[in-house]
Symmetry: C2
Subunit: 341 residues, 2 copies
Amino acid sequence: MNPVLVEVLRGSLVESRHRGAVAVCDSSGTVAFSLGDVDARTYPRSAVKAIQALPLIESGAADRFGLDSNELALACSSHSGEPQHVATAAAMLAKAGRDVGTLECGVHWPLASSAARALAARGEAPSALHNNCSGKHAGFICLACSLGVDPLHYVQPDHVAQREVTAALAGVTGAALERETPAIDGCSIPTYPIALSALARGFARFGTGEGFGPERAKAARRLREAVAAHPFLVAGTGRFDTIVMEVLGARAFVKTGAEGVYCAALPEQGLGIAIKSEDGAGRAAEAVMANMLLRFLPMSAEERDKLAPQSSPRLRNWNGIEIGSIRVTPALGMSAHSSPA
Amino acid sequence: MNPVLVEVLRGSLVESRHRGAVAVCDSSGTVAFSLGDVDARTYPRSAVKAIQALPLIESGAADRFGLDSNELALACSSHSGEPQHVATAAAMLAKAGRDVGTLECGVHWPLASSAARALAARGEAPSALHNNCSGKHAGFICLACSLGVDPLHYVQPDHVAQREVTAALAGVTGAALERETPAIDGCSIPTYPIALSALARGFARFGTGEGFGPERAKAARRLREAVAAHPFLVAGTGRFDTIVMEVLGARAFVKTGAEGVYCAALPEQGLGIAIKSEDGAGRAAEAVMANMLLRFLPMSAEERDKLAPQSSPRLRNWNGIEIGSIRVTPALGMSAHSSPA
């Protein structure tokens, strides 16, 4: 039974509760912190995009097409569809001699409602470039083109590019994905169920290179540095990942996934973190992730002041009146405010 | 401990789970069905707007200002901010000699993203008329004006109009609201915690008039008939309340509230229903409400075919590929499909 990790208060009463599980591990799988059923398999969704981007570098595709750090950050992103995201995805495709027509992620209006309204105000409609996964998909297309294969149907599990991506995910997490039947993700690529404990260990490896060969360790470092240099590109205006990495830089790699998944790597601590909100709520996963960062990462008072509101946000209504708050429960063992700096 | 009521599947695996509570009662409080902690107090939020609209009729305000059935339906609504909603709210205010400047609900872009984009495409910004609560607030303003008091600060608990509204809510549900400290709702009016069992009994009364005086019974019937005649006005395009009442008409009054609350009245069965998704998820409350309607309301095969997808929706991704589904658990005792018609 997963414990209640997060409570949402209105006035002085708890209005809603979120259960979930958290695993914090080092690269050998030694558990530093664990709550709930961390051995249950769950779909990591977009939280593993950086791991899925490893073959883009390891294959030589990134160098062959001259991808810069902006483009590598976007390959790891679930972006908000703001103009810079869209332009960067288009630039990646152009470097491989392709365009939006090769994307197989589907079309949706930008995640950022302000970006969606701006698009509508210009009389435009969204394309697959606005899909929050377009950077990842542009990376898959670069990988396929670099491998000399037709990118057509690159979202299918048996496409050469997708097999490389799945092999990287299996290698990093140690999960026997070849024995799994994948489900289909929002952007149509396969998504495989993996235990939180394996995801946390995988991200400890991703953050340290421990357990990787030299090429994979170098590729992971390059992706971490790209995202740390461009935290806006991995998410967008006002988004949790962007806020956290603008504050912490390369000391934390943090990535959201749909249905309340969050993963992180803390390179200096040698730790990986994996969170799943049982009900799929992103607000709960964010509060827990902020709490874990405040717990495991030494921070200055200024950094702590910037991140504490992410762990216990104050809630305001349409008139700006404070009506409640979100807080992590004592099950997490330590409040953001009482922890030693 | 609230049981798991709803599961969200991706492929063949459960990806997310929603716990919650459900109460189904008659007007005397006799329980027809109950799951989870139905005696815990929760904020009913917008699910009680129709009860909050009773004084608008009982006071004579609706007749004094000549409000039609469209306007009465909007007074009970959490609307999507589509043009017809906005125009109807403006018309209500005009009948009381007021305009948008009297609204104290705050401003947000229309709930319907298509309506928000259409507004942006016209180069316009939202006003308080687009707030999903503008119909309820226009009703409060009509009430205040009809009572001969200045509507200024009508959202405050001690304003004459708000006291009438709270007294109606206390009277219908039997909850001792005068002993409660209210929290503040999204639109700035007070919201009082009430047990699901009391809400279910209150909606049984609202649906039947049982336990009401003749004036209140008449007012409740007039509101139910208004909403049944204009199900679009109480929610909007593609919304659950609108879909359900377009199929069932006056045989079911159904109303959503924020944070996973749902209430309903089934007049012919003499039952009221109140649901709270523990984590605040609307998708779970909708699936449970559809299941309850299928369980307690005799329906034709055609009606059943229209509502069954609301109880067990198929989930599709951006490419339209079916990736999973939502289903109610055996805790609810009966699937939508195996129930007798």
